[in-house]
């Protein structure tokens, strides 16, 4: 039963992985994530740290937020942003799932190659 369940979860899990990886495919967003994982920052603070407009930084934050990588909250007129460690953990799990899928395939190739019926086509 185990492998069937693994396969199901991989299909769903890799969908989420795309969402996360898409958010992470950009260097600025990775830096924003790293900064907000160590402490909460306002969007305007973040905007001062990058050579780009407030609006551009806000856009990056929005992508990170949609992927669940950061959480935003309003404090007065400020938007405060902090990283979500659980989401970072999920990325690791998603890559682990990819590894598991290919390890299982390599094992099955190994078995196939060892099969005397198929092992030597000559």
């Amino acid at each position: 039963m185990g492998e069937g369940i693994t396969y199901n979860s991989m299909v769903v899990d890799s969908g989420h992985a795309d969402l996360l990886f898409g958010a992470l495919a950009d260097g600025t967003r990775r830096e924003i994530l790293a900064l907000t994982l160590t402490g909460e920052h306002s969007v305007s603070q973040l905007a001062r740290m990058f050579p780009m407009s407030f609006a551009a930084v806000q856009k990056h934050v929005a992508v990170l937020e949609r992927a669940g990588l950061v959480v935003k909250r309003k404090q007065g007129r400020e938007q405060r942003v902090r990283g979500n460690p659980a989401a970072v953990h999920e990325i690791r799990e998603a890559l682990d799932q990819l590894e598991i899928r290919w390890r299982q395939r390599v094992d099955r190739i190994d078995e196939l190659l060892a099969d005397p019926d198929r092992g030597d086509p000559a």
């Binding site: 069937g4 396969y7 890799s14 989420h16 992470l24 999920e90 990819l98 099955r108």
Partner: protein, 161 residues
């Protein structure tokens, strides 16, 4: 131990796995080029794969489905990008509906296969990369759906079980 190295790189969205086989390159190449052999390892034993089309040429298409223990079919496709026999293959790997229409809402990965001789055996390197920025962008625009969040909860349960 067959698998010798695994590298996971979140920055370029890829996972690379290196494996060693005692069989020569020509033999290992067959597990990719012979659809009947491909069926024996592509899907898990409980989700066996049936290969329908298998055109391993640049621009060619491989289509297959995997059958669940309950008889449900999951359809998939490859779009072949490059082939150099023996030992070099690159393709996109995705999902489709029963009619074979590509489902671009599910993730597409790009897979690079390299087979290199090592003594009388083979070193196989597979690089699997979560693919197109376009596909990922679509997912981002769709936003985090309730269903996806719920499914993730189920995965956590399954992984903990």
């Amino acid at each position: 131990m067959t698998v010798t190295v695994v590298e996971k790189n979140p920055d370029d969205l890829s996972m690379t796995i290196t494996a060693e086989f005692t069989a020569p390159v020509d033999r290992v190449w067959q597990v990719w080029t012979d659809p009947r052999q491909l069926e024996r390892w592509w899907g898990p034993p409980t989700y066996p794969a049936t290969v329908v089309d298998h055109d391993l040429a640049p621009g060619g298409r491989v289509s297959y489905y995997m059958t669940s223990p309950e008889g449900e079919k999951y359809h998939g496709w490859w779009r072949v990008l490059t082939v150099e026999a023996p030992g070099s293959l690159e393709f996109e790997d995705g999902f489709s509906d029963e009619q074979g229409n590509e489902n671009r809402e599910l993730p597409v990965t790009t897979v690079q296969v390299r087979l290199e001789p090592q003594g009388s055996g083979t070193v196989m390197t597979i690089r699997s990369r979560y693919a197109s920025a376009e596909a990922m962008q679509q997912l981002l625009e769709m936003g985090m759906e309730e269903g996806m969040t719920a499914a993730l909860g189920q995965i956590d349960e399954l992984l903990a079980a």
